[in-house]
Amino acid sequence: MCGRFIMAAFVEFSGVWKYVVKGVSFRVEGPGLYALVGPNGSGKTTLLKLAAGIIAPEKGRVIVCGTDPFRDHKVRERINYVGARPLTDLNEVVHSYLGLYYALTPKHLLRCGVEEALMSFGVHRFLREKLYKLSEGQRHRVELAKLIMKRADVNLIDEPTEALDAEAKARVVEVLRKLSSESLVIIATHDAELLKELRPTVVLIEKGELRGIHEYEEVAANLSGGLMLEGIVRASSPEALEGLRGLEGVVELSYKPDVRELLKRLGISPDTHNVMVFESEESAKKAYPGATFVRVSGLELNYSLRVRLRDEESLSVFLRELTRRARVVRLSVSGG
């Protein structure tokens, strides 16, 4: 929290409804680090976007530092919102994208210039490049550079370690530690390693509802203990893998189809830069005008699979069920 502001840095949700979020209420106050943790579709990103004032709640109230961030543009000066990917079309040049934020941030809130911020995440050499020429990890580093450039009382970061290599992850840990000592930092993440490193206060969200706010140590066993399975499996539908979630001992499960293979099967070159692939419920068709919906059920594809099991005892049951539902291409087990 910065001393120059009268109102403390806090984010408060009161009975908020929006998309999958169902009547969530809680308040977090800075300085400090909070992690929104929950499975895909639990409403983590929605909560961050609500706090950033990008969207407004259908019902309920979102208050940031004493005011509504959707209505009151002034309070957005105090907020840094960092998406899981850059919030622009990939034809934009890195310098132009971050330059927009630089130019429209009051000077006293700027820590440094665009190039210096990029340098902090090792991507300054891409200053004049278009975003589509960068890898996913490099694009994410560009987005993270906003944290360095602007001094904010409330930092909202969606999947801070998504697509990052070990070196960049370490840098993210360092930056988040520093930021949380002086401001309110809220991250949404699935990354158990990151949680273990940062030991934040954990806000558990499931199916759009708040399940509790805990110190990391209280929930550490569920979040980072047990065995980690990572690899590639070949399945005929996501539902086949989704069914594994309910198995005894499965703490966390995520899977993503191989996008390159999916595009090839659809007759689209995977190197086409202006194709964006995202996962969505079929019921959300209206929210994505112009998008082509492809039902992946019945389409045999490779999926990258990531599973956290509670203990070794769960392993044999899990593997038996996995091999019944999918063909294992490669799988590694760690921890335990």
Binding site: I54, H73, S96, L100, Y101, T105, Y288, P289, G290
Partner: protein, 250 residues
């Protein structure tokens, strides 16, 4: 003053953004204007030389050259809102109506490229405009761009479905053009119909352009500009209000 600085910066940013990443906003109207103005007035002047076909048709094409860029920008903005590409602007500490205003001011300013090309091509058909006339044409172009944008946003932004928004934008274009005095002066219509037609943001602009291009009735131009300015800004404000209201329902 921060707002004015922000508005200016955002407008310049949008101009640059369109020039570098959305060239089609300029190229599509430009190709359309060039294609139509190269052939249509020439063909018509060969067909009949009894009226100033070059001047009349060139004026019609000039008006359509103003319509296209503003419609494309409005439509793209609706689409970008639907796919989340406007989040970049929505996180900024700037009022939302300013974000929208900057975007469409940029589009109106870039639309002047198209108008300039249309004016150059019109000169081939004997349409000679004085520097003062050209200035008035540019002013009317910006005014009409905002009005057309407003009508498209007003009628299309309620639905983010791309097909429906595109269809609505096409219908808006057809209605505005055909319910304006594009092919005849407004004075030939009965008074009651004249008043109704003036609700169309394009009508006053078309009348003013006709006076400028034909070099007749210049005295009515300031009044027409004033009426058009009020009407087009009203449509633009209504469109922006609907669009900003749509943001709340995202």
């Amino acid at each position: 003053m921060l707002s004015l600085r922000a508005l200016t910066y955002l407008t310049a940013y949008n101009v640059k953004h369109i020039l570098t990443t959305r060239k089609e906003f300029i190229l599509v109207p430009l190709v359309s204007t060039i294609a139509s103005m190269l052939i249509v007035p020439y063909g018509l002047s060969r067909f009949t030389s009894s009226i100033a076909v070059g001047a009349v048709v060139a004026m019609g094409l000039l008006v359509t050259s103003i319509f296209l860029p503003s419609t494309i920008t409005a439509l793209y903005t609706i689409i970008e809102l639907g796919i989340g590409l406007l989040d970049k602007y929505l996180t900024l500490p700037i009022p939302r109506h300013q974000v929208v205003l900057a975007r469409f001011l940029a589009s109106a300013l870039l639309g002047l490229i198209n108008v300039t090309v249309a004016l150059i091509l019109a000169s081939i058909y004997g349409v000679h405009i004085t520097p003062l006339g050209a200035l008035a044409v540019y002013l009317m172009s910006i005014v009409l761009s905002l009005g057309v944008t407003g009508v498209v946003l007003f009628l299309s932004a309620r639905n983010l479905d791309v097909q429906r928004a595109s269809l609505m934008a096409s219908i808006v274009n057809i209605i505005l053009l055909n319910l304006s005095p594009l092919y005849f002066p407004l004075s030939v219509m009965p008074p009651a119909l004249q008043v109704i037609m003036l609700i169309n943001p394009a009508s006053g602009v078309v009348e003013a352009l006709r006076a400028i291009i034909l070099g007749r009735g210049w005295c009515s131009v300031p009044t027409l500009i004033l009426v058009s300015l009020v009407l087009n800004l009203a449509w633009f404000s209504a469109g922006v209000k609907v669009f900003v209201g749509r943001l709340r329902r995202l």
